[in-house]
Symmetry: C2
């Protein structure tokens, strides 16, 4: 990423992630070029939006062939990923933590889940879902030693606020929070909150109103 690049809008970053995912599949099927309207259609967006997002990251296509798939994948990678990759910790290795870990396995080489933390003694210093699991007390030590910058919180709600504070203190720069406890870690870290119940309730509300 050029040093003088402004921070991109959240929505654009979200779509860049989707573009790359789609392009990786597209590339696998042997296609080398893609038009903005093709990419747009696959993601149910407009072609203008695709072109504008791509413009924002400073990549250009050609009018004849559209975008070079491989180059665009790499460009998006240079925006989202760091060169060396970032290490990720799972906070709370319960069934959700395990499911997420397995879901990620091998999907993004620049995002590596390298440690999990739990309060259950049974899990300490064991490999669970392929990841070494530590006591919560080792949070700070392990995060620093393994150079972990991202955390996914999937623990029960009880001590989430305190744990998030510890994470930020230990140097975590980005948190994905799957618990129902609202956090506030700004300005030291970026926070992405996601509550599965809220998602289903949104669907419930619109399902109800559309049924009219």
């Amino acid at each position: 990423m050029p040093l003088n690049q402004e921070k991109l809008p959240e929505k654009t970053v979200e779509r860049l992630s989707q573009y790359r995912r789609t392009l990786l599949n597209y590339f696998k099927s042997g296609k080398l070029n893609i038009f903005s309207h093709e990419l747009a259609k696959m993601l149910h967006l407009t072609s203008v939006q695709v072109r504008r997002d791509i413009m924002l990251i400073g990549y250009s296509g050609s009018q004849r062939k559209g975008y070079d798939v491989k180059e665009l994948i790499n460009k998006i990678g240079s925006i989202i990923d760091t060169k060396e990759g970032q290490n990720v910790a799972i906070i709370g290795m319960g069934s959700l933590g395990g499911a997420i870990t397995r879901y990620f396995k091998g999907k993004r080489p620049k995002l590596n889940i390298v440690a999990a933390f739990d309060i259950d003694r049974q899990k300490f210093d064991k490999i669970i879902s392929g990841i070494p699991c530590y006591s919560m007390e080792k949070l700070n030590t392990v995060i620093k030693k393994k150079n972990i910058t991202l955390a996914i919180i999937t623990m029960p709600p009880d001590n989430v606020t305190e744990t998030a504070k510890k994470l930020v203190k230990s140097g975590i720069k980005g948190i994905v929070n799957y618990t129902s406890v609202p956090l506030n870690v700004s300005p030291n870290a970026y926070l992405e909150e996601y509550d599965m119940i809220t998602s289903l309730e949104k669907a419930a509300y619109f399902a109800k109103t559309s049924a009219k």
Copy 2:
């Protein structure tokens, strides 16, 4: 919900779900009333936004005591839930499907997970994570028989598009899609898409830029 009520903005519905969750806890701790600025603070929002959202659903507080917690909880319930509740199916009872099922257990009495579907014979006609699991072939029959209106898709990406079509055909009105396959079910159903990789990649991007 009043018959003539306009559809609420997505963002408002999202926050209403969060308000209720927060208020349920607040009520448990014995508080009967709450001011907009108190609720706002708990969710890291502004009090104006809280008041505006509450205005949109047609509920009023008092200047002296703020909002009646119990009444507001019920009012939000009348917006989001149906009187009889809605039934939910899990499509793909793998580790993520199981984790979500367990996460929901007992949390929302008006949203009941009543069936799961999978392609794995081993799981057919068994109770998994507390839910009866059926063959994908029974999708249409079971959805109609059990009057299921919402579906959570957690299956592998292969046949997601076709499965979503079948769901809508069977009468599903709302879908939460946890797979990486973008769907398009409008205008027959409401769709909520969520990709865990995109979430982590957003965090990765902003973690990277804030580290500067």
